[in-house]
Symmetry: C2
Subunit: 332 residues, 2 copies
């Protein structure tokens, strides 16, 4: 058999990992592959292409073992990609081109290719057709929502330079700035000084400066400092507590913007909370919900399946497409 | 004549330009050369070395024409370098090594080499032995001060990632963040939206996002946006006015930290204001002085020669050294 038909290829092209899966129409897993992050904004086009290729090659290899086939070409009904770093029309063009290159080099022919922002596709999977708002705060942050008409909007998520308010990176830079301010006499004393210097194995402001502008620095590592902010806030440090408070305030402002844009301020909605900051700094979750309780009392319900993985949203998107095109597919 | 003696080589190794001068003991200019910025934190060690080399080569060439000499070796009594990007001990080591390499390759033998932070050396030149505070806000920002005992301290100046509060870059990122917040519904309406998009030739938030994470972006270009903030503040825009206000507040907090550290809060001092933001956004100067009038009334005088160039401080430093070592030099 030189040609195999497969219903779905789903790919979670995240910022820190890439996960590819071939699925049967009964949702059975036919093959799975993993590789490194493939946000082309951070790893470049070549890096993203390579990560996608590795994950898909691995999934293909597993599928050959599972199905016993070693086909020349794979026909996929629908290939769905949830991609980090897809924020604009231009990103969509770039990523679609990269993805088509990879599919070609892997001898995969897809009848339909869907390429979407990873947050929006996660929301799609989570929402299940209900009015919903998804708040993500990990290294970056974004809020997106969908109303009962299926209209999607987003707020925030403009990256680490002048956006991503309330995210891990945003919290980390606020913390570092507070430490500099304490050490050079501008700011109040804060446990963040000892906390951050010890965490990074540094001794003083000059070391911290060299770390920030040195090779060890990365956006992810600054985001990791949010763990120190949580620890210091737990110990009652006023500066750390204020950063936690501001983070919740920023995410709240994103939720309200989405509700207003979708004209959902007076309607019930499901609230999904995702990302490392929201799961590891529960104080931010609590404060965010406190702000919502005042602004839209009784209107939201925190969804129980908040722990859904992004790939679940991507799989839902794929089966949604297959269901809608069932007749068309049957005719082929 | 195969060997020429020259009293001074002074070099202003700034972030945007490098200026080198050979000077006679009567302060006569023997040769001058210019090249690009040589902050090694931004242009790298190779870039800094190349800029220094170009400026010094050009100055040497001019000196040969002026003096009619084409010597094999130049003996310089004192070489003084005021360097951008020199903030820590490690920076001092790196820059001293680069500078010694360049001097060697240019066949210059210096009896004394002084390498200092550009802001501190500018303050030295400006202070003239009096208790003084220098506030610089250009692309970056820093406040430094010297008391009557000659003790120097600094506050701020920790770079664009988590410092340089009140600088042009800091103002620019605040402005861009405000535009994103307006465009995605989180923030209030501001003239900065039209102002910044028009200035950059862009149409919407997605364009702005692509600009920030694209090749055209630079810290300097973000700092240029402070001109738009000034314009919008002049037109009464509340968001822009608030950014101007915060900038003055941040610089004020730097001045107070320096005064406290130098125990000069109750003593008169000279205030020097430098940098593009302070000269092009006079509202920040006015607000800063208003805050100081309340905090340390009658204690400061804005120095008239605020417009002194950094090279003037470097020249003062050089002649100061020559004067102190006059006898020693005479014996050689």
């Amino acid at each position: 058999m030189r040609n195999t038909g497969v219903p779905l290829l789903v790919v979670d092209g995240g910022g820190t990992k890439c996960l590819a899966m071939f699925l049967g129409s009964d949702r059975s897993l036919l093959g799975e592959g993993r590789s490194d992050g493939c946000n082309y904004q951070t790893v470049g086009e070549t890096g993203a292409r390579e990560s996608l290729r590795q994950a898909i090659t691995q999934a293909l290899g597993q599928m050959e073992v599972i199905t016993g086939n070693d086909p020349e070409t794979i026909n996929v009904e629908c290939a769905v990609f949830g991609m980090a770093g897809l924020d604009t029309e231009r990103d969509h063009e770039v990523l679609t081109r990269i993805i088509r290159d990879v599919l070609k080099s892997e001898r995969i022919e897809a009848n339909k290719v869907i390429v979407e922002n990873d947050a929006l596709i996660a929301l799609f999977g989570a929402a299940g057709g209900q009015p919903s708002v998804l708040v993500i705060s990990g290294t970056g942050s974004i809020v997106c929502g969908v109303n009962e008409l299926g209209r999607y909007v987003r707020s925030g998520g403009w990256g680490h330079v002048a956006g991503d308010e309330g995210s891990g990176y945003w919290i980390g830079t606020k913390a570092v700035a507070s430490v500099f301010k304490m050490l050079d006499g501008r700011g109040e004393t804060t446990l963040l000084g000892d906390g951050i210097l010890t965490f990074l194995g540094l001794e003083n402001a000059e070391d911290l400066y060299n770390w920030i502008y040195g090779e060890a620095y990365s956006v992810d590592k600054v985001a990791d400092l949010s763990a120190i902010v949580k620890k210091c806030a737990d110990e009652g440090d006023a500066v750390a507590m204020s950063i936690v408070e501001q983070s919740a305030q920023e995410l709240f402002s994103g939720v309200m913007a989405v509700l207003k844009e979708l004209k959902m301020v007076n309607d019930p909605f499901q609230l999904f909370l995702q990302g490392g900051v929201l799961s590891h700094v529960p104080e931010i979750q609590t404060k965010l919900m406190g702000l919502l309780d005042t602004a839209v009392p009784g209107m939201y319900q925190v969804a129980a399946d908040t722990a859904l993985e992004p790939i679940d949203g991507i799989i839902s998107k794929g089966f949604d497409w297959l269901n809608k095109h069932r007749q068309e597919i049957a005719k082929r």
